[in-house]
Amino acid sequence: MQMTVPLFAEGELPRYARHIALREIGGPGQARLKRTSVLVVGAGGLGAPVLMYLAAAGVGRITVVDDDSVSLSNLQRQVIHSQDRLDMPKAVSARIAMAGINPFVAVTALEARLDAGNATQLVAGQDLVIDATDNLPARHLLNAACVAARVPLLSGAISQWEGQVTLYDPARDAPCLACLFPVIPAEGLAPDCASAGVMGALPGIIGAMMAAEAIKLITGAGRSLRGRLLMQDVLWGESREIAVHRRKDCPVCRGIKGEDA
């Protein structure tokens, strides 16, 4: 006799009651979350809320990749880490925090730096990849791997008081990163968090938006940011949504045949 392994563990389901109560998610959406594998690259400012909310939401399998360790200046915004985990690898610290929130999520913590040698392997088999890295070369590397694997790439980025969020997905007629931003800015134009500073709650705002977009995408709720770039200026209260599109001559994704999302 063939046994069916239940999707949810005993005692797990009640924690998702507020999601199940939502018409747009419900039981079927919660089951989809449970069956989903997500790769999150970066366990820093943006990775913190993304990982915490996706763990809390019951995403079945979460892989987190980061080669950095927790330092004191991270704690002003990287709320997944804590004082008692200083100097610990961020991937490990993040796994401890996620297990504390929801022990029913299978978390793989990789103390590694995304590079040309491991990007393809990391992306393979994932339903969704989330870019929470802190530099453009890594973002382009991850973009190329996702384009080749036809995996949607939910991308967030921040700068001082502002953030951007979009869903790159050329396999489903949305642009890839290289369509939208083909040129990497010259050295010094786009200062990093260390030299330019970043307001502590900003990655919380942008990262929580990314987590919400991931939950929408997985459950099929509402309208995703596919083909739309959201920009949020927290300092001045300006926000804009820009309609974006694939570039026919994009060197990264021009060979990818799009389909309707």
Binding site: D134, L136, A157, S159, L180, L189, C193, R240, A243, H245
Partner: protein, 84 residues
């Protein structure tokens, strides 16, 4: 003369020190307008010193620097953000 709202994001906003301004212009294209902006102040010149990585949206639609701006109400300039 057309009156256009110009929005700046990220390092452009920081260099110009304002999130938006209203510009009276007779510029025909985005590139013409950028040349006018560069001549406006040192801050504008610094913001557009290396526009290669800057993108532009006309009325919330991605466009390029050669696009005409007749009839456009809002132009947003934005670069890729990098931090995480």
């Amino acid at each position: 003369m057309a009156s256009i709202d110009v929005l700046y994001f990220a390092w452009l906003r920081e260099r110009i020190d304002a999130p938006r301004e209203r510009i009276e212009t007779e510029a025909g294209t985005v590139a013409d307008l950028m040349a006018e902006l560069v001549a406006r102040s040192d801050r504008h010149a610094a913001a557009f010193a290396d526009p290669a990585a800057v993108r532009v949206a006309l009325d919330q639609q991605l466009a390029d620097f050669a696009a005409p701006i007749a009839g456009v109400a809002e132009i947003a300039f934005f670069p890729p953000m990098t931090g995480g």
